[in-house]
Symmetry: D2
């Protein structure tokens, strides 16, 4: 049996590169040779035992690669095509997908399960490997234009798609005032997304000076540090009474609550964070339910059309995510990368991992 190298999860705190079986493409599937991937905050949650996956699964969900094998039933692709695959791989044919909720793909015949279309490194072997089996390949292989490098597109798979969706689901309109809470990779992409969609004023909030500097580089007009200032009061003052859209990109009570408090009447809180434990919606922050507020949540949009559209933004120089890719590692040294990324060392934002 052919084997490959891959970063395998064993149990809380235990994972590492090992020899694993090569995948084989079934009908409607493809195998890609991974040429670049990265590590996501979710991967940290997994190796820390904060999110459960099956022992033995390969980690990672952000793949760039080259088609190595095409199963039957796939049209329009050739072996050797360079492709980007989204972190979310919708089938396009289930109830959720046909209802326009592709990220929630995964309905069984018996009814919905809210696991969503996130499969790589969650329910299927992931992208931190030499090879990756792509399910529903017809819907998920996005060809990479020749003029784009792997590094230019790898962050589109998850963080850019998620971050931009914060602005999209929030319904940012021309001339809006927008506040973005937390400027990690997702929050920075939310800042970029708000800028791309025509917000007039973007206020970025974080406690890390490096990240705030990057926020300015990515399009924020004003940055605020909650350790230094009353961010809600400042945002209300700067926006003349409250922002049109507040984007939450961390998943904490504090950022959620602040995002709600800085809205103008009729404003929208667009939430990207993954929350744990109880979330409180204070009576006054919620205008007792009669402020015409909206709270919208979004899971990373996937599928090849999404990836293609995001690559067009890179190709036509609307966005440049290169500054977010701060470090590079080989797959064999991925443990080092997890360590650096996990302790936020050396100003790391995202790491490139090359099999």
């Amino acid at each position: 049996m052919a084997t490959m190298r891959a970063n395998v999860f064993h149990s809380k705190g235990k994972f590492g590169v090992a020899e694993t079986p090569m995948p084989k493409a079934g009908y409607g599937q493809a195998v890609i040779r991974v040429t670049l991937t990265t590590i996501c905050g979710t991967d940290l949650h997994i190796v820390r035992g904060e999110y459960q996956i099956k022992p033995g699964l390969v980690l990672g969900h952000e793949p760039v690669g080259v088609i190595a094998e095409l199963g039957a039933g796939i049209a329009g692709y050739d072996i050797g095509d360079r492709v980007l695959v989204g972190a979310i791989t919708p089938c396009g044919q289930c109830r959720a997908c046909l209802s326009g909720h592709q990220a929630q793909c995964g309905q069984s015949a018996a009814g919905y399960q809210a696991i969503g279309g996130w499969r790589f490194g969650n329910t299927l072997d992931g992208a931190q490997a030499e090879y990756l089996l792509v399910p529903h390949a017809q819907a998920n292989l996005a060809k990479i234009p020749a003029e784009l490098t792997d590094e230019q597109v790898v962050l589109l798979s998850d963080i850019a798609s998620t971050g931009f969706s914060g602005a999209e689901s929030g319904g940012v309109r021309l001339g809006d005032a927008v506040a973005v809470f937390a400027q990690g990779p997702i929050g920075l992409c939310a800042t970029i997304g708000a800028r791309l969609m025509g917000a007039a004023l973007i206020i970025a909030v974080d406690t890390d000076p490096l990240r705030l500097r990057m926020a300015v580089r990515m399009g924020a007009d004003i940055v605020l540090d909650p350790k230094q200032t009353d961010v809600v009061a400042d945002i209300k003052q700067l926006s003349g009474g409250g922002v049109d859209v507040a984007i939450e990109a961390l998943g904490l009570q504090e950022t959620f609550e602040n995002a709600l408090r800085c809205l103008r009447p009729g404003g929208t809180l667009s939430s990207l964070g993954v929350y744990s434990g109880k979330l409180h919606v204070p009576y006054d922050a919620f205008a007792a339910g009669i402020g015409d507020y909206r709270i919208v949540t979004t899971l990373c949009p996937g599928g090849k059309e999404r990836m293609t559209r995001l690559m067009e933004l890179v190709r036509h120089r609307r966005i440049d995510l290169a500054p977010l890719l701060t470090h590079r590692f080989s797959l064999e040294n991925i443990a080092e990368a997890y360590d650096l990324f996990g302790r936020r060392g050396e100003g790391v934002l995202k790491v490139a991992v090359k099999p």
Copy 2:
């Protein structure tokens, strides 16, 4: 000085019909002789001291009447015209109104205040009176078609406009499954609204058998009593995995949480309730923030165009709210009406009050 009879609020528990000054129409205003009004749950909150208004204010915000005086600057109306006025009276000219958030009307030059466009019986004298001063009259006087009686339209001013908006803001689409939590007057109108907009399956939830019977009459397919059954489990089963839209029409933690729990992935919780104290969003009910859920809140839409459109629904026999008007009182006996309405006696839903 001319006087009139009106139901005046004094302090917690103290209110009553008294002689008060007749209003006078200034520029852009009108005075109507009230021919019918009603009592709202909010009025109960006020007289119980749970919501603060200025002592001396006339109560009530749901007026039907006849134009008695027209201030300068009002065109297209005549003395004697029968009109319906919404509970919310937007000016049409402030930042909130021009942003499409008419219910949030009330921005000062200095910035927004979240008081909204609710003025009658809140910041201005209200409708439980012989005469009522209507601000921003050009935007708020809706002529009543001759073939409609006062009783046919009085409930449109607040509860129907609010209840229907639960379905509208929820984005109910053809074929949706909808659950409506609580079947008081607002909830019953949310049930009607979901039916009007083409929901295929409407599940109404309440603990009062009388209200559940009325829910069926108003268009619910199935009624559930949370005292008798696990409503979340039942709704998930009946809807094949969760409803598209859940409408909350009470303002309690339990109904809010149940509404959230019975959504399908990508579903919308449309909240009409006025909440007090903290509201919890349990981690699991919220799918940790990645279920593509939306939570939308709506304050009663007002303005003459809204009232006119709702009257068209009555005129063309799409809706019949008559069964909700269960009792009739004169203005002089309004204390009795408050008592009955407050203790939910005799199967009361809404009371008609005739000055």
Copy 3:
């Protein structure tokens, strides 16, 4: 080789039931034994040579049946399941489908072709046959609830899905005034759709008294005959200045132009007709381009989720299309059915054809 009976198109004016090869399910496909189908106006265009298809193709695109064979890769279905299949069969995985334009399914790798997702009786063998091969079966087989008969659901496949979409794409809102031009099967379903979505006033236009009577039965408030009256003037008067939404359901210059002329400023013309030749947009009817008008066109929405939602509307007694199914024929006598349907004999609206 196994054979079956099917209605085969040969050339202009020539078609008939013949022995043809039985289909065989490949990967991702299914074969259904057709238990009920019907004839569409489009089929008439084909046999009259007004729309070109390949000689030898089986006609028809509105199938109800029982699963006879399941190809590999299909999950959640069993042989013997009763299913409804939409006239449009999206793959769910191409650029158009992933962009939310499932009806326009059919992009080649090289770029879009505007053939849309209409395949049955157009580019693939159709439903007027004993057996039918269903492509992209996972996305297109909608199980029929046991309590619904074939006749109750067969019209959902095309005319109801199309007709309702006229109201949906038009954005009909609670309290709207809507005019529907032409009351053939599609127009009647547009009338039903406008009613379902909460229009307050529905004005149906046609020259056929039988169809106008049916329009009233299906929910129209007022019917107008352009031979008897100036419909544009009447509609403007009845709606107080113009309708919010006008639905065109015929495909002629006259109906298109009248639909445009009866709009209020900011109104929407929702067009369902299939036009031939040039279409004129008169300068004045179009308010010179500055009336904030919208013209939207819609091809029949397909896919199993759409079919399931429409069946829910039947199951919960929101709609009853039975009155539209006026005649019944066996597949062997389908030529008679074409003749009757083609000359609009005996008050025919739609015919049931049973293989």
Copy 4:
């Protein structure tokens, strides 16, 4: 009687600066001392007799000024405040305004008239004057931030608001391909608008090399000259099968038809042009009505909130319209400005006119 200098229209070809009565603010009105204005293509249509207005009316509809007089009933403003007023002045209180169609403001009590909210230089005295009476002042006076000059904001009143709305009504989304037909001032602003909203690829079409150069400066990726190339074929090729949104900014059959022909299935034609005579929608260009195309038209959005939002875009350096203001004239020399603007001399785009 006090008088002022103003550019008065007499009859076809006859207009000029003359002494006219000073306006006086009535209730709800304001008078501004105009500090900057400009000439619009519509003004040319008027003086050429192609659009009828009443003789004696002052021309012009794009005012920047200083409040000189405030009528009763206006709150939140002071004499001396610098303000921008939109070309369209909605009342905020009529049926059209309360329906969200503010640009169509102008409903009489008897029903709609499609004149829209365009009043300055059309039904009321206009802005090419020393003083201007502003109707519905509470809804239409937008204070100018101190850091912005008159020249930075004067083009927001009409061309920027109109041009941007081409992208907004077209529903431009992140990653879209957009084509903009004609690069006059409105078309250039449509190009800016598409860029602001996140289009990935913008193709600008015009025959004038100067305007195409300006289009690149304003954000177009590719420019095409229909005299040099088959623009429809080129656009289809460049966009991989058709654009998501095509914006028409001229008002001719050719540009309208080309815009329609270059759409991908499901695409939107956003029309800003003012058409004259018949407009043809060729059968094939329209996909026979079943391409899921949308055609949307938009009249310049007005009102103070719109103006404020657009000024925020200037203030935060999202847009810089200065390059479009190519020439400067005094009010006394406005005839020269009309001449230059009318014959498109010296690369003129827009002229600043200073009373």
